[in-house]
Each structure stands twice: as structure tokens, then as C-alpha cells.
Symmetry: D2
Subunit: 357 residues, 4 copies
């Protein structure tokens, strides 16, 4: 609970937006895993600010420094400590905000809970914390390579611009556009919407879809460790997430059993389903079909127009945010969704390792 994620493969994360550093400890990582530090830093840079005109111009170099758990470039089975130094901290940008509670931010709730808060850049509530998740996710992806499990997230909605759910997208397109959408024309629409929103000092929400291909049958631990419940929990811990659905999701409410049951059939020697409304999980356990789910993100509450709020003295005040912020977090959220999915799936592989005698 709290700041530890996972059961066997566990990430314990620490760090505030403008503190000394953020980082974490990965425990339960099997020994003998060859570290691919370039890959890990590449994953980190997918999350990094300033990668395109659609994201905040804030610069963070975000190179991970490993402190333990690695010898001869392989994991030793001991905890992997790591840190990412914080830099380029325009804390001054936040001085104006240290006495006020920003609307729809965590300021007020943190202050009430803890009686103290680190106002610099949102402190622990800042999405900067997710950099540690990307490190954990990258290591989980390395561990998943031998299983040829493929985890792929992408932007499927920005505002009202939606991507229909299809299996035949050119997935290599995802990293070719700044929105991280596999449909280049939709990507262009989304990009111009984000540019327009940005020009108004406003922000906008969206949806990330994630697909997990190649997941073996049998992952998931009923009843409170159902695979989709673990994935849902993982996604709901990401900043700004408001909803999670898998398979048919909320649409399932509209249909009848006769319309949406996934009939089994035999393909070569494998038992498969004709349709996949279940989203690759039945009874909380993977059934070998593609796992897919959608994660809803709200518009980030930091907008550059004047807003009314309350200060710490309990007085009504107005303020206008300064600093550099994302007009839409969804493109940068894509690697974070993948990271959380990778840690969850690998953790469940380890859990499943001894489910039958």
C-alpha cells in the first residue's frame, strides 16, 4: 500500500517534484536479468517534458542513476535502488501559490490530511513521480521479453476526437507522431486541437488505450486479485485518471448476453474465442486473447487564466498560474500506462509461477 506497488515484483517510489531527487527501490526482481540501460533511459525520455510543442517546454534530462542490485550489468536478486536528480526547478514559479489552494489540485486535500505540504510544483502529488514508474516499467518490460508479451498503449481520444478500436493499425505510427496515436490523420486532428487549447492557456482531457498481446492463459488471482482489478488499480493510481474500463467496458451495460458472449472455438489445437468482448480476461484470469483497456484522463487543472480560489487563511482570492504546463497530458501518459501495465503483468507472472502443484 501507500508508496509500494506490486506483490512479488515491487516498486517502492519516493520523491517530490522539486525535492532533491525522485527515485525508488525495486524488490523481487529475479536475478540474472541483463540490464539495458539505454532502453530504460529511452523509456524515461518518452515520458520526459519538452519532447514536442504539445507538451510543457520544461526541460528535464532525467537520466536514471542505479545505486544497487546490479553487478556485471546483470541483476543480482537484491533490491535495485535508483534515483533521478531533480534539476531546473523554477520554484519561484510556485512562490505565488504556496499560500493558496489551486482548484482541482491536491493542495487542499494534502494540507488537510498531513497538516503540512510541500507547495513546490505540487510536491509528491506532481506527475513527476511517474518517472520512477517508468524505470520500474522498463525493467519489467526487459523481464517480459523472453515471454514475448507485447504491451502497447496509445492515445485513443483527445476531447471529442475519438479513435475507433481496431486491430489493424500500423502500430509503428504511434511513436512517429507527437500525440502517440496509431492513426496519422486522427493524430493530426488531435494535435491541432491541443495546439488550439494551448494557445488559449487552457488544457484538455483524453483517453489512453492499452493492448497486451501474447499474455499466456492463467494470469490473475481470484477473487480480490483479479487481473483486471489489478490493472484497474494500477491505472487509477496515475495522476489525472478518472476512469478505467476493459473489454466492452461501460458499453457492456447496453447489451444482452446473447449479443456479447464470446463463443469458444478450436483454432488449430488452441481454444480461442470468436469475439473478444471480454477483453482477454474471464473471471479475473487471462484467457489468451488480447487484453485491452481504456484509461480516462481529465484536463490538467493548471490553466493560465485567472481563477477564483481560497488561500490558507481561508480568504477568497484570485490567482493565475504561471510556469510551464502540459495542455494535454495524454501523449506523455502513454508510456506511464505501459509501465504500470508491464509491472502488473510481470508481477502476475511471478505470482502464477506456483499456482498448481
Amino acid at each position: 500500500m501507500y508508496n509500494t506497488f506490486g506483490n512479488i515484483f515491487r516498486l517502492t517510489s519516493f520523491g517530490e517534484s522539486h525535492g532533491v531527487a525522485i527515485g525508488g527501490v525495486i524488490d523481487g526482481c529475479p536475478s540474472g536479468l541483463v540490464m539495458d540501460v539505454d532502453f530504460i533511459n529511452a523509456e524515461l525520455s518518452r515520458r520526459r517534458p519538452g519532447q514536442s510543442s504539445l507538451t510543457t517546454s520544461r526541460k528535464e534530462s532525467d537520466e536514471v542513476r542505479f545505486l544497487s542490485g546490479i553487478y556485471d550489468n546483470r541483476t543480482t536478486g537484491t533490491p535495485i535502488g535508483f534515483m533521478i536528480e531533480n534539476e531546473n526547478q523554477h520554484s519561484a514559479d510556485y512562490d505565488a501559490m504556496k499560500d493558496i489552494f489551486r482548484p482541482s489540485h491536491a493542495d487542499y486535500a494534502y494540507f488537510c490530511k498531513y497538516g503540512i505540504r510541500d507547495p513546490r510544483g505540487g510536491g509528491r502529488a506532481s506527475a513527476r513521480e511517474t518517472a520512477a514508474r517508468c524505470v520500474g516499467g522498463a525493467i519489467a518490460k526487459l523481464a517480459l521479453r523472453p515471454y514475448s508479451i507485447l504491451i502497447r498503449a496509445f492515445t485513443s481520444q483527445v476531447g471529442a476526437i475519438r479513435l475507433e478500436n481496431r486491430d489493424d493499425y500500423d502500430w509503428s505510427e504511434i511513436e512517429r507522431n507527437s500525440v502517440r496515436c496509431p492513426d496519422s490523420s486522427k493524430a493530426a486532428e488531435m494535435a491541432s486541437l491541443i495546439e488550439e487549447v494551448k494557445s488559449n492557456g487552457d488544457t484538455i482531457g483524453g483517453v489512453v488505450t492499452c493492448r497486451i498481446d501474447g499474455c499466456p492463459v492463467g494470469l490473475g488471482e481470484p477473487v480480490f486479485g483479479k487481473l483486471h482489478a489489478a490493472l484497474g488499480h494500477a491505472m487509477l493510481t496515475i495522476n489525472a485518471v478518472k476512469g478505467f474500463e476493459y473489454g466492452d467496458g461501460f458499453d457492456a451495460a447496453l447489451y444482452r448476453g446473447s449479443e456479447r458472449n464470446d463463443a469458444f472455438y478450436v483454432r488449430e489445437t488452441n481454444i480461442r474465442t470468436l469475439t473478444n468482448h471480454s477483453g482477454g480476461i474471464q473471471g479475473g484470469i487471462s484467457n489468451g486473447e488480447t487484453i485491452y483497456f481504456r484509461v480516462a484522463f481529465k484536463a490538467v487543472p493548471t490553466i493560465l487564466t485567472e481563477q477564483a480560489t481560497v488561500n490558507m487563511k481561508g480568504e477568497s482570492v484570485t490567482f493565475t498560474a504561471r510556469g510551464r504546463h502540459d495542455p494535454c497530458v495524454v501523449p506523455r501518459a502513454v508510456p506511464i500506462v505501459e509501465a504500470m501495465a508491464a509491472m502488473t503483468v510481470f508481477d502476475y507472472l511471478l505470482l502464477d509461477a506456483r499456482s498448481s502443484a
Copy 2:
């Protein structure tokens, strides 16, 4: 993980649909709590089959038997063991199914994971397991009484019939109709839709909305123990659930920060928000406003018409389900959603007791 739910207030549940009994152990319940067994059984009967023409006609008396943890009708701080005997087990109804994998059921996934499955009524994957959750939830509700936290779930959608989200429903209406909907005319529409579906041997999905009023500011444990992530996880462990959203949920993707930020203002001496798009939770911590969320349920896959599937020999076969089943689980899911919410909120109250020096 697995079959234990919660951090401090923990329910460990056991039991299959047609085994000897289902039950559980509640650990971490504070001592001195006066047991109201009538209330607990009343909560259980809200979940019970056969309560109306909209639910399965299967009869279960479902009286809970407490085995430990109670003395002089008060909790002693020791684990509360309880069981509910299984009865009226028409296992014969399932003989036909013990060699086949029912579409969109857990049969196939369980068999692949464990190499063995209890086919009688779905075994552990049956929603009968949720009776144990209702006992845990009822005890959590008793523990929440002194805090005057009110947890109220209701049916907000069946098929395409939706209830708009309003604060001014007559909540006492919920238990007056068999759909458990606070709007009597919508309830009537929903009821006739379910009757029609049932007459065709079919099933249909829906949505349960839950509201938590009176929750104090400060519940929630960032970053992986965010309150909404815990609620989402709790709901996603319920049978047939396909999605969870809180506050604006998936609609949040459509809007701009300037449209959906919740401005703070001072009401009497309290800091409140003018709107509540956040759903009572900011940064994973309750902010004192009403917490609300929606839970999507698929149509139960057991339909009374012929379906194609595969048997355990890997042969294509057809079968037609027999037995008595719910045409729509949503009305009976309402108390289960409340139970999971109550256990989560009470557990987080206990967790929060330790958050500041």
C-alpha cells in the same frame, strides 16, 4: 492479495457456490463494536436471490453464523470467523456443464490456470462468493455509524435506460422498487425491460452508481493507495464488472480545464468547492465533498438459448444452460457495491488514523 481484501480491516473470504459453505474471517475489526445481527442479515437478504420476479427464483436462506470474535454481543478485537451454509444445491443442473467451457464464464480460464475446476455452479467464480462481502460490508457499516458516513448505491442504468445524476432524489425510493432505482418511473421502465429480456431467456447489463456522503477530508494514501484507486480496485473485483469511473469519469476526456475545475470557496467556516467534477477526491485524497462513482456490469453470460462452445476434449459442441439465473444482476449488485465501498472507507479511516504525528 488473492482472497484477502483490505489493509487494516481485512476480509479473507472462502467458499464455492455448491460447496459445504461460504464464509470468511474479518481481521483488524476494532473491539467493542456492538453487533447488530439483524442488520447484518438484512444486508445479506438484500443480496439474496429470489427477492423479486426480476431476480433468479433460486432460494437461499443465507443466515450468517458467527464462529468467533464476539463476546457479550460485542467484538473483542480477535478475528471474526463466519460461515453461511450452502443449501438448495441443484448440482444436477450443472452436470451437463461439467465437461464444457461456458462462453464468457470463468470455466476455461480457471481450468487452464489450476488444471482442475469445481464445475458446480461456477465454483469459486460464482457470485455466491459475494455473500461473504456483504457480511464484511455490514460490519464495516456498523463501524462507520459513529462517523455518520452514509454509503448509498443504486441502479442508474439498465440497457439504454439511464438515470441522470442528481442530488435531489428521494433515496428512500431505492428499496421500494425491485430495481433499486431512486426514480420510480425510471424504475418501472427498467423493470419492464428486464422482464422482457427474461421472457426471452436472455440477460442484460447495467450500471450501479454509488454516493458516499459525510466522508471526512483526508482519506486516501498517495501514491499507490489513492482512495479512488482503492475504490476502483474494490469494485472491479465484483463479478461481471467491466468498468469504474468517479467524478466526471470518462466524460472528463471531453472537457477543458477551464470548464471543469472545481473552484474553492468559503462556506461558513468550511472550505468547499462550487462544483464537484472531482467526485470528492483530489490527488487521491477525499476533500470533504460527496464521493460518487459508477460501476459498469455486463450482462450475465448464462442465457437460456442454445450456444456454440468447446468441451474439455477440445471438441466443438452446442449446449443450452439450465437452472435459475438472474436476467440482470444490477439490482442485486447494489448491496455488494455498498459493501465493498463500506469496507474500503472504513479501512482507509483506520489507515488515516496514523498519518500525522
Copy 3:
């Protein structure tokens, strides 16, 4: 924590001495394990009172009733719920004690912690709770059979009568005498000491030694999950235990490194140690040698002579215990030590399955 033991293979136990029943839930047990109920009940009866003149004459039939998790006499991977009905409850014996705090019992501490206590037979603090551990331990022993790991505990000390630590005892002797000592002449001495103590209405302490043979190299999870720390924790949770030592234990304080290092050598193709002062564990990880440890038990505080104490009104009073009690718990503790060791070793086998890629 609390009433759950283990990481992957987990026993959650419940029940008071004179409540309705004691029992538990075993979660994380692999599927496909053939249940040998006769063996399980045999293990239970090794713990049962009234088995000889050296133990309390209190009769408990202690037949375990399984409630879930088993189908076709095999485990299904779902939680195994079980209970043992309480019977023959001479609660009247305890009426006299319900208003007083018995010396060196848990009465006072429980009352202070919880503000309420179940005075009947010590309630949750009674050693009757250990019957649930014997069920868990018996199932762990069944799971360990294919690994040919042998767990053997015996009485090695009663009062000042000590057994020297030797490898060449006739282990089959253990169950042939009522003391459970592998040396028949020492067993006779111990038995007569216990008879003498009993005739004075007194009680006496002792030590149980446990040996684990055939444990593979590599069990143990540094640094806080060291195998000996897990075994020590397990033993220290048993009623009346005052100390735990493994290998040289407290004697290790007396010697020099040059006297007690275990030199490695090659035997056939195996790396072994010439001596085993380490007790089969180095750095918290099993090294393939015999694991052995000693567990110290105090004399049970229930004696049949008059004692001074304080009642719940805070008044000085005297009282004399009634009821039937063990003059020495050690013989009955032997199977409990084995049960806790078996659960620990099997849990660590499951944990280790995930330690290298």
C-alpha cells in the same frame, strides 16, 4: 500480520477456546494437491489433549471439517476454509476467573488493549488456537512430500533434564513415548519429572528441538526475509515460547571464529560443510545442510495452588485455578513446532520459485 501467517501459502486463523469453533482459511495453496484427510486428522490428534497421563485429561475430538477449496479430493487453488467445532466446554470452570487477571496469563494485557476480553478458557490467547496451525502444517507437509523434505521435532529438555544434540537417534522412538523424546531413557526421566510436577499441581518448562532434513540450497529472502528470521518468528508466535536459537545459538557467543567456522569441502560433486555450526543457514539462506533450531517453552502459568492476584475492580485477591491443564506443554508442542516449520519452509519454497530469471 495479525492473524494471517505466511507470504504465498497463507493461513488466516480464527477462534477462541470456548467459542463456537476454531478454524482458518488457507490461501495460496497450489491446486492439484491430493488431500490425505486421515493424515491431517492424525496430525491434529498428536496435538490433542488427553492423549496420555502427561497431558490434560480434557477431551477434544478435534475432527477437522473442510468447507471449501477441495474438489474430487484435490485442492483447486481456491481458499481452503476449515473449522473444528468446540465441544466439552466446561465454561463453568472459568466463571470464577472471569473477574480476575490470572498471573502470567494474557488476561490483563488483552483487557487493557481491547477493553473487553473473552474469559472462557483464555479466549483467543488459549493454546487451543494452535489446532488451526496443525491443519495448515499438515497440508504444508503434504505439499512438501514430493520435495522429500523431512521436518522432525522432539522434546529435548524438560526442566533440567537435557538431551544432547546428536544425529544418530532412532527417530521412530519419538512417537513411541508420551514425552516425544528420541531417547527412551531420557524420555522416562522426563516423564517421571512431569508426573512429580503434576502431582504437586505444578507445571514445568522445556525445550523442543526441530530438524529439517533435505531442504534444498537457496531458501530464504534477505535481508528481512532471512529463513531463520522467518522460522524464529513462526516459533515465537506459539503460546508459552520464550526463546529461539538455531545452529550454535546462544553458545555461539562463547566461541571464536577459528573454532566455529564451517569449512566447505567437496563430497562427490556436492559442496558441503565439514561441520554445521551454522545450522544449515548462512546469510539467511539455506545451504543444504540440516537445519536445526531450539525453541524454549516456559511452564504454563495455570497451577492448582493458591495464588495472589488482582481482580477487575483493582482489588488484591487470591484464587486457585480449577479445570484440567497440562503439567508440561512441551510434548504437545512438538507437532505445533513441526506445523509452523512446515508452513514456513513450504512458503519459502514458493517464494524462491521466483528468485532467478
Copy 4:
């Protein structure tokens, strides 16, 4: 489990002896705690090598660097990340050992478990890891100050030189001598024994006794979370520990109930015990008397004389350790025992915070 210690107040530790750094993350520390960094570094330096002629001459400055969780010199309730850079790493000293398994060290067990090991200074198995525990313990001690709970450990045995257990020692003497023994004449004897052992390139074992005064009644969570079981587990995770006993410990085996029961009496308005054979804990719950326990340490296996062992090719070889080592770890173990006790007691205070309604 693994590298995380505690339930609510949790230390997750990382780092190898000769890696980049050791450190950890403290989660669950209440907010608002004023950090006394001088005190924390003072605690660290009590553990530091090179503090006297009785300890290794290896120099480590061991200044802790906090990375998160602190603002305005107070804890914020977010995870406290910290690190201690490794320096002065004479890894060359270990080159000779990287292909051999040192007797009674963890080398062989680690290699078998993980298939890889960091041979530099024992890697993760090195006692250097305990520096992170001292940081956690120091913060726990700061949190315990308002409760006026006093935790005091000292050297009570070196080789055959024992200190009798008395309440009237001048505790301020402990830090005045290099052995950390409250009896100055015994301290002198112990010191000369250690000097003699050191002059022979040998090492020797000993015992640390710990007393916890001022602990409130009611700490401890039966049945698997008994306070003494938690303390025993905590101590057994410390390097070189072979045994744990509390109260009468192993001596309890020698006596009769009539000789060792702790009679209750009323002192002013408090219920106290006339004797304290129970060691301040009854039924796993503190009873308000002084908690005391003893921890046995073996002689460190690194001796400077030639030893026979086996290399990684499975060949018999001889080797002689080089480098700077402790002739007796006990004096430096004293602060580590206190640190583990402090973390355990504070964690149990937090656990107890909600044990009654």
C-alpha cells in the same frame, strides 16, 4: 517481506557493501515530525567502523543524504528517501575472494540461490546494510520521544564474560566505554579479551541485551503479530545473530510455574507485577513492565588465519582473508539492536492506534 521491514512504519532498504550507495525509503512515517539530522548522524556514527581499537579500522564517513519527504525540516507524510554514498572501497582486498566461497559467509548460499553474486565485501550480505536500519531507527526514536519510551541496548556478554541482569546499572556508562557495557570493570575485561582475540587475527561472539522502558500496556497483535515475535524477527534479521530470548528466555525451561509466575498487585492506582519473568509481554501484548530481551551474536567468520574452503570451480583451496574486520561485532551491534527495536515499537504503536472502537 524481502527488503521491507514493518507494517505501517516501513523501511525498504537497498545497497551493497561496495556498490554506489546504500540507503532506503521510509514509508508510513507520520507528518509533522521535526527532523533532528544531528541526532540521526550521531546514531549512524555509533555504528560506524573505526570508532575504537576494538572495531575495524576501516573508515566510513557515513553522512546520510535525505532525498525526499522533508519540507521546512519536518516530515510531510510522503516517503522519506535517503542514501549514504559508499567510499573507501578497497575492493582490491576482495579480488582474491571473488572466486571462492568463504567459510560461514553467505557467498555460497547467495550464489546457489541467485546464480550470481556481488563478491565485493560480501555485497548485500555485508553488515554495511545495517546503516540504513540505523537511519530508520533514528527516525523511529524521534517519533517515540513524545511517548517517553526509552530503548537502551548494551553489551552483556563477550565470550564467557557475562554481565548479570540488573536494573540499577549506570546506563550513562554504556557510551563511555568502547565495548558499550554499563559495568565499567566488566567492560575492561571484555575489551582486553577482544584485544587478545584481535592480536591473534581471530574473532569472538557475544550477546546484546536490550531494555525498553516506558512502553504502554497494549502493544502487540495476537496471534501472529505478537510483540515478542515481531522483536524476535527484527533481531534475527541482523547479521550474525544466532538466537533471541525475552524475559526468562531459555532459562524458563528450567523452572516451575509456581516459581516463575508474575503475581499482579496494585501500586498506587496501577496494576503491576511483583516480578517480571515475563519480560514485559504477556500473550504477545505489552503489560507495562520493562521489556527486555537478549540477542546472541556469533563470531564474525572473517579471520586472518589460513582456512580451507572450495572455489567456484568446486576445487579445494586454502585462503587467508585480507582487509580490515571487526574482532567482535557486538559493540557496533548495540545501536543496530536499538534501531530495530525502535522501528518495531513505533510500528506497533501505530498498529495499536485503532484496536478498539
